[in-house]
């Protein structure tokens, strides 16, 4: 008999241990706070107060006490909650404490349109302020097509008429009683974790700041930062801020950082990012494609310079400068963040004027995230002098021999010689290499006037154009040159 009693007691106690806590957590909703409903149709910061009022009205009809809208707004202002449609755990907890409610209803209007077919769509989420968790959610939408009546009576005509019907539908689905598991909000305690800098050189100082949300803990939480096997304790510097300044590791590498903290007799370990120790400057080089002259890359119309990192890594800032060989800086530009994929130089200085002929140096400085500096440079030749074309003539056996020469050592991309007589083209010669000798027969007339144009362009695009006229006199069958005029630019006047 006694054994039976023991058995019964044991079974009843087991049942009670299992079911009592669960029943205790089942609650009926009798008081609720409704946050202004977010309206995505008016952008991410849109608010629909009409929908909020409709929800208030309909939930009140269900016998639920809805906290006054002004009181809710005052709390939002007090805690500087500038957004609707979502709420973080800490603010959920705070609003719950302040408004003395266990439930907060948040929602979003996803659609509200009168175009073609009026339609509205909405989501609602119920938050529990004690656990700071979402415990119920609902999605609903209505369109005019959902209310087609055979006689066309009582049909809503626009979105404004659809919205109350949608709210009614939502309230019908609203839970009367909720069951939820009691768990303390795990991510309420920490507001922010700051570790600066994240990239350091060996032994450089690192600051770690942890800001906590004051949840009224009786026991002061303990915060430690773990790097490898080293633990650094954070000191309380203000009522909600813990701080530690420590020397970073000497060894190079990437070290994961963990924050270990103990709150309410429970220890948490969270990953807060990596700390990178880097003592090596990045290896960078500049690539510029073009013709090499005077031990430099020649500038044509524009020069494309490609910076290349041997081992790609994040860059904190960069600076590029064009200098003369004496070191005078004529143009420079800098910027933060990633290195641009390419640079262009059009041969201009900082004022926009074209630079003179000569050799220049383009220098690129980059700094990695730890502040290690690297430099790369490239020599650029700028050639502004046009080809120096010389034309000489000689008469042999009544034939004119024209010799065209280039006095500079810069190769030509093309040249062209045209000879006219009285508006008629006598000869055209085209080529890419100079010197060249062109033979020409002179007509047997008393006076022969020839007009010549020589055009030449070097490989850098510099163009020269020479025009000259020459008159020949036929004296007893022997031709002599009379006068010549050579001009390098512009038309010649008659000699």
């Amino acid at each position: 008999m006694s054994m039976n009693k023991v058995k019964y007691t044991l079974v009843i106690s087991i049942i009670l241990t299992i079911f009592l806590p669960l029943t205790a957590l089942a609650q009926s909703i009798n008081k609720i706070a409704i946050l202004p409903i977010q309206d995505l149709t008016h952008g991410a910061n849109g608010v629909n107060f009409n929908c909020t009022r409709l929800l208030e009205k309909n939930l009140s009809k269900q016998g639920i006490i809805v906290i006054n809208n002004k009181q809710v707004m005052a709390s939002l202002v007090k805690h500087r909650i500038r957004w609707t449609g979502f709420l973080d755990s800490y603010n959920t907890y705070l609003l719950g404490q302040e408004l003395k409610t266990d439930y907060i209803l948040i929602g979003t209007i996803c659609q509200y349109s009168n175009r073609i077919e009026p339609r509205v769509g909405m989501t609602l989420t119920l938050l529990n302020t004690k656990t700071s968790s979402s415990i119920w959610a609902w999605v609903g939408s209505l369109s005019i097509k959902d209310f087609i009546h055979p006689l066309g009576l009582f049909e809503p005509k626009n979105a404004a008429e659809l919205l109350p019907l949608l709210v009614e539908k939502a309230v019908k689905n609203f839970p009367k009683r909720l069951e939820f598991t009691q768990n303390v909000c795990p991510n309420c305690s920490i507001r922010n974790v700051v570790v600066r800098p994240r990239f350091i050189r060996s032994g450089q100082d690192v600051t770690c700041i942890v800001r906590v949300n004051s949840l009224g803990h009786k026991i002061i939480p303990v915060f430690k930062l773990q790097i490898n096997n080293t633990f650094i304790k954070l000191k309380l510097v203000s009522h909600n801020e813990y701080k530690a300044i420590f020397m970073g590791p000497i060894k190079q590498g990437c070290f994961p950082l963990y924050l270990i903290y103990r709150i309410n007799n429970k220890t948490y370990r969270i990953y807060v990012g990596n700390l990178t120790v880097d003592n090596e400057a990045p290896k960078v080089r500049l690539i510029a494609r073009g013709i090499h002259i005077w031990n430099a890359v020649a500038l044509k119309r524009r020069l494309v310079i490609l910076p290349r990192l041997n081992n790609p890594e994040p860059i904190s800032r960069w600076q590029i400068a064009v200098c003369t060989l004496d070191g005078e800086k004529i143009l420079s530009q800098d910027g933060p963040g990633p290195l641009p994929s390419r640079f262009f130089w059009r041969g201009q200085d900082a004022s926009g004027a074209m630079v003179a002929t000569g050799v220049y140096k383009i220098v690129l400085d980059i700094w990695d995230m730890a502040g290690n500096k690297a430099e790369a440079s490239i020599r650029v030749a700028v050639i502004r002098t046009p080809p120096q074309i010389k034309v000489s003539s000689k008469i042999t056996n009544n034939k004119l021999l024209l010799t065209v020469k280039n006095d500079t050592d810069i190769p030509l991309s093309f040249w062209r010689l045209e000879v006219f007589q009285g508006g008629n083209l006598l000869i055209t010669e085209v080529g890419s290499k100079l010197p060249v000798i062109v033979k020409l027969s002179i007509p047997h007339k008393k006076f022969t006037r020839l007009f010549c144009i020589v055009t030449a362009r070097d490989i850098f695009g510099n163009i020269t154009k020479k025009k000259f006229t020459k008159t020949f006199i036929n004296k007893n069958g022997k031709i002599n040159s009379f006068k010549k005029t050579i001009n390098s630019s512009g038309w010649t006047t008659e000699f």
Binding site: L40, T41, G43, A44, W83, G85, F86, L87, D88, S89, N91, T92, T108, C110, Q111, I116, E117, R119, G121, M122, T123, L124, T125, L127, S132, S133, S134, I135, W136, A137, W138, V139, G140, S141, L142, S143, K145, I148, P186, N187, I190, N192, V193, Y268, I270, Y271, V272, G273, N274
Partner: protein, 204 residues
């Protein structure tokens, strides 16, 4: 003889009815590719803001809100409040439209005390106008579940749906709002995930 004919007609009618019903029902499911099976069942999950790759205003946010609401109401997993996710996004300076990198994903998972994260992208969202003057919403999404500790992909899902696909007869059954279509699609995805992940965990 007459009785046999009657039976034959009865069976034929039944067969035609079944064929019609089968033809009208939607046979395509979300395309889920399970890449790595999680070691144990997912208890708590964080849904990260979805990227909007469409011209539909706030398309990413609409699908994100609807999907999160459907996930909460499914009671499959506990969902981290949206506010907590957005708060960490602000702290890590991840701007709207940006996707976090692997290190940021690890930090988010650790700070939110979750092992798994849902990432998403809305590829298509539009309200097409049919010849009958009705609105036919179209949504295409790509979702991923990743392990927040390792950064490994658990599964990848692609889902495409048109409101017209749910039409049964006349206008009945047809979905004519983007919100409703998003809700139905989210439900289909969550159902498939739950089934596939449970099967995979049980197998292991």
């Amino acid at each position: 003889m007459k009785g046999k004919m009657k039976k034959l007609y009865y069976y034929l009618t039944l067969l035609i009815f079944l064929l019609i019903v089968n033809g009208c029902s939607i046979s395509t499911f979300p395309n889920v590719q399970l890449l790595n099976c999680p070691s144990n069942s997912i208890q708590r999950i964080a849904v990260l803001p979805f990227k909007n790759d469409t011209k539909f205003s706030q398309g990413g946010d609409i699908f994100y809100k609807v999907f999160s609401a459907q996930l909460i109401s499914s009671n499959w997993v506990k969902v981290v409040p949206e506010g907590d996710v957005r708060s960490i996004y602000r702290q890590l300076e991840i701007f709207p439209g940006q996707q976090p990198n692997i290190q940021q994903l690890r930090i988010i998972a650790s700070r939110l005390h979750v092992s798994y994260l849902i990432l998403g992208k809305v590829l298509k969202m539009e309200e097409k106008r049919t010849r009958q003057g009705e609105i036919d919403p179209i949504i295409s999404v790509s979702l991923q579940i990743i392990n927040g500790k390792t950064g490994k992909l658990i599964l990848v899902t692609h889902h495409y749906r048109e409101g017209e696909a749910y039409r049964k007869i006349m206008h009945f059954g047809m979905i004519d709002t983007v919100t409703k279509l998003a809700a139905v699609m989210s439900h289909e995805i969550i159902e498939k995930w739950e089934r596939d992940l449970n099967e995979c965990i049980l197998k292991d």
